[in-house]
C-alpha cells in the first residue's frame, strides 16, 4: 500500500482512511458500502458528482464494497458503476464535522 492520499492524487480502493490527521471534525466525509443482492460488491466504482452534476472524484470499491470521500458541505450525487451495466445513483448531503453514511444496494 503506497501512501495514497498525501503524495499523489490516486484513489485507493475503498477510499482513504479517516485518520487523526484527517479528523472528521474538519472534514465533510461521505462514505458507505455497496451490496449486490446481499453480499458486498467489490468489483465496481463509486463516483461523486457536485450539485451541478460535474465529476468530482471516483474510487474503486474496497473488498468490503466500501467507499469514502472527503467532500465539502453541500449536496452531492453518488453514482455506483459495476460490471453488467449496473448504474445506481443517490443524492447525499455532506456537512463539515459529520460522517455521512450511505448504504447502496444494486
Amino acid at each position: 500500500m503506497s501512501a495514497a492520499g498525501t503524495d499523489g492524487c490516486g484513489a485507493p480502493a475503498g477510499g482513504a482512511a479517516v485518520t487523526a490527521a484527517s479528523d472528521p471534525g474538519t472534514q465533510a466525509v461521505v462514505q458507505g458500502h455497496v451490496t449486490q443482492n446481499g453480499p458486498p460488491l467489490s468489483a465496481g466504482y463509486a463516483r461523486l458528482l457536485n450539485a451541478s452534476g460535474d465529476f468530482v472524484a471516483e474510487v474503486p470499491l474496497g473488498a468490503d464494497g466500501g467507499f469514502r470521500f472527503f467532500a465539502a458541505p453541500g449536496t452531492w450525487t453518488l453514482v455506483v458503476l459495476a460490471p453488467g451495466g449496473v448504474r445506481a445513483q443517490h443524492t447525499v448531503q455532506a456537512e463539515t464535522g459529520q460522517v455521512t453514511d450511505v448504504e447502496v444496494a444494486v
Partner: protein
C-alpha cells in the same frame, strides 16, 4: 497524431497485446491493484517508486529511466501500451513521461483499467518474465514540460488550463475529494487560468470524448485560444497529463506543456499572485 495512432481499445489489446514488439504496462500510484489482477502480459510501473527521484522533487534522470525500462524488458523501438486506474491519470502521466524521454511508439488503452473491469474482461495475477533490454532514452524534451518561472511569465499571455475540480480551482478544496483535505499550501488558482476539469474530457466509462466534442469543450466553452501556447496544470501533474494528452495528442495542438510542479508547487511559492473564487 491522430486518435488511431495514440489510442487502442480492448479488442486491439486482446488481438495484439502479446505480439512481438508490443509491451503492455500498467501504471498506478498504488500498485496493489496490479498485484491483485492485471491484463495478461502486462508489466507494472509504480508512479512514485519508479518514476520519481527518491530524494529531490523531480523525475528519475535519463540513466534512471534507461535502467527502469531495461529492467522491465522494454526496448526503445517497442510499442508501449499504457493503462491504469483513476481513469488513466497515471497512465497518461506515464505517456507524457515516456514522450519526455523520447520514446517513439506509445499508446493508451482507452478507458484504462476501469472500462476493462466494467466489461468483466480477464485479469491475471501471473507476472510476465521479459528479457532484459539495453534501453536508450533521449534527453528530456523541454517542449512539453513547464517549470515555475515559465508559468508565472505565462499569466495573462498564454493559455493556462487548470484541470482540477471547480472546488479546488475556487480554493474550497485543496485536493481531490477522494483524499483528506490536509495539505498546508494556499488554495486557489493561477491568475488568468481557465478551469476545465480533466473529467470533462472523459466519459463515465473513462474513454475520451470525440475530437469534435473535445474541440468544442476547450475552444467554444472554455474559450481557449488555439493560436496561443498552452500550459496545463493540476495538483501534482497527472490529471494535467491527461489534459496534455487531449490537447497535444488528440487535438494536435503544437505547443502544449504540462506543469508537473502544479498546485503543490505554485500554491506554496512565496510572493506569487493567486486568484480565488469560481470561474467567471
Amino acid at each position: 497524431m491522430s486518435r488511431s495512432e495514440v489510442l487502442v481499445d480492448a479488442d486491439w489489446v486482446k488481438s495484439h497485446g502479446s505480439d512481438p514488439g508490443v509491451v503492455l504496462v500498467e501504471v498506478d500510484e498504488d500498485t496493489s491493484a496490479y498485484d491483485l489482477g492485471h491484463i495478461a502480459g502486462a508489466v507494472k510501473i509504480d508512479w512514485k517508486q519508479d518514476l520519481q527521484d527518491p530524494v529531490r522533487r523531480d523525475f528519475v534522470d535519463r540513466a534512471g529511466f534507461e535502467a527502469l525500462l531495461s529492467a522491465r524488458g522494454i526496448a526503445s523501438d517497442d510499442t508501449v501500451v499504457l493503462y491504469g486506474g483513476n481513469n488513466n491519470w497515471f497512465a497518461a502521466y506515464a505517456y507524457w513521461y515516456f514522450k519526455l524521454y523520447g520514446h517513439r511508439n506509445v499508446k493508451l488503452l482507452d478507458g484504462g483499467r476501469k472500462k476493462w473491469e466494467l466489461e468483466s474482461r480477464e485479469l491475471v495475477t501471473e507476472v510476465p518474465r521479459r528479457e532484459r533490454t539495453n534501453y536508450t532514452a533521449q534527453e528530456q524534451d523541454s517542449s512539453i514540460r513547464a517549470f515555475r518561472d515559465e508559468v508565472i511569465a505565462a499569466i495573462g499571455t498564454k493559455n493556462l488550463v487548470d484541470v482540477r475540480s471547480p472546488d479546488e480551482f475556487a480554493g474550497r478544496l485543496l485536493a481531490p475529494a477522494h483524499l483528506p483535505q490536509e495539505q498546508a499550501q494556499r488554495g486557489g488558482h493561477i491568475p488568468s487560468a481557465r478551469n476545465v476539469p480533466w473529467s470533462k474530457a472523459a466519459q463515465e466509462d473513462g474513454t475520451f470524448r470525440s475530437d469534435d466534442a473535445l474541440r468544442s469543450l476547450y475552444g467554444d466553452e472554455a474559450g481557449l485560444d488555439f493560436g496561443r501556447d498552452t500550459i496545463a496544470y493540476c495538483r501534482i501533474g497527472e490529471r494535467s497529463a491527461h489534459t496534455w494528452f487531449v490537447l497535444h495528442e488528440l487535438l494536435d495542438q503544437p505547443n502544449v506543456k504540462n506543469y508537473d510542479g502544479s498546485w503543490t508547487e505554485y500554491g506554496s511559492l512565496v510572493g506569487v499572485p493567486i486568484s480565488i473564487g469560481d470561474a467567471a
